[in-house]
């Protein structure tokens, strides 16, 4: 039995989130560039919906924010790691690529290479996108100053 890397849950949540929100073609291309191992499909990519929940109000009550299209897939590598992909949108190849990457990141042999060649670039791209969006939004900010009126008399 191949030694699987002991996966830190928070770390796995972080890479799954990055894969889920990235551009589908970026994920697919980056995976292709790695020459990925053969993977057996346990759950073929399937498209569905999830209800996204939020919290609001002073008491933080939960409410249904809205439905979101999600595509999911589960694969197993020859080396035994089981990878799960849940991605935003309808792209089945994206879900399968995310599942394969998730599985590779659970292998001690492949972790470093996949982390540096897939996750780190996607994370940097996401940070750049968010910075650009924040700058654009900041440029539209209007500062209101209270006008002090002259008093009569």
């Amino acid at each position: 039995m191949i030694e699987s890397k002991l996966v830190d849950t928070r770390q796995r949540q972080e890479w799954m989130s990055i894969l889920a929100k990235a551009q589908p073609n970026r994920v697919i291309d980056l995976l292709r560039g790695l020459n990925p191992p053969q993977a057996e499909v346990l759950r073929s990519p399937e498209i569905g919906m999830v209800m996204v929940r939020g919290r609001a109000g002073s008491d933080g009550g939960a409410f249904n924010l809205g439905e979101m299209t999600v595509t999911r897939c589960v694969v197993r590598l020859e080396t035994g790691e089981t990878g799960v992909g849940y991605v935003a949108g309808r792209n089945k190849q994206h879900a399968q690529a995310a599942a394969i990457i998730d599985a590779m990141l659970q292998s001690s042999d492949l972790f470093d290479r996949v982390q540096s060649k897939v996750i780190a670039p996607l994370k940097a791209e996401k940070a750049d996108q968010m910075e650009i969006a924040a700058l654009k939004a900041a440029a539209t900010k209007v500062d209101f100053y209270t006008m002090v009126r002259d008093r009569q008399g």
């Binding site: 346990l42 073929s44 589960v74 197993r76 089981t82």
Partner: protein
């Protein structure tokens, strides 16, 4: 919060759930509409606990989050239950009377049929459908059948059923409309017997 499933031994289900599910549904419908006829239900993947393709395909097709499934105790809590929870998202129950589907390998002592849900007056269809996994569906003692869906008579000869099985079944199904619908499975073969099918006494 549900417990996370251990996916390390998980096997695949349907490769194409839509097409394969529809094809399997049609076979099950044909089998149940023509009681006693032998149908074939195959599955590319190997079903856990050796219950066979037919039983596996039935559950993949029909079990979902609204149909609690009861597994006979040696099967409960093992790879089969993980497989079902993953692919069907069905609740698993330890209470036979709450089960929409029940699965037992008849090799181990058969469950008491009276424990299951026999339906109620408003919803007789909510009775348990019992899936029995047998060593073979031919070569055993011959049983003759009569009833809706059978033109005159039909004969089946499943192996691995206890000698009193048919009389117990007749007794449990005696208060029509209540009763249990049966699916006999062996490997990729299936015979369905709705509660309306009667077994004939030998020599009648």
């Amino acid at each position: 919060m549900t417990t996370a499933l251990d996916l390390s031994n998980l096997r695949p289900g349907f490769h194409d759930p839509v097409k394969e599910g529809q094809a399997a549904f049609r076979v099950i419908l044909d089998a149940m509409s023509n009681p006693g006829s032998l149908k074939s239900l195959s599955l590319a993947a190997q079903v856990p606990e050796d219950v066979g393709s037919a039983a596996g395909a039935v559950l993949l097709t029909l079990a979902d989050m609204d149909t609690p499934v009861w597994l006979k105790p040696p099967l409960a809590g093992g790879d089969l239950s993980i497989w079902l929870r993953f692919h069907c998202n069905c609740p698993l129950t330890l209470d036979p009377s709450a089960a929409a589907f029940a699965l037992a390998k008849a090799a181990e002592a058969l469950p008491d049929l009276n424990q299951f849900n026999l339906g109620d007056a408003k919803y007789p269809d909510r009775a348990t459908t019992l899936i029995l996994v047998l060593p073979a569906l031919t070569g055993g003692e011959t049983v003759r059948l009569q009833g809706p869906g059978i033109e005159t008579q039909a004969e089946i000869a499943p192996c691995g059923l206890p000698s009193d099985f048919w009389s117990v079944r007749t007794e449990v199904n005696s208060k029509f409309q209540f009763g249990i619908d049966l699916m006999l499975c062996a490997g990729d073969e299936i015979i369905c017997l709705p509660r309306t099918t009667r077994t004939l006494e030998q020599g009648s």
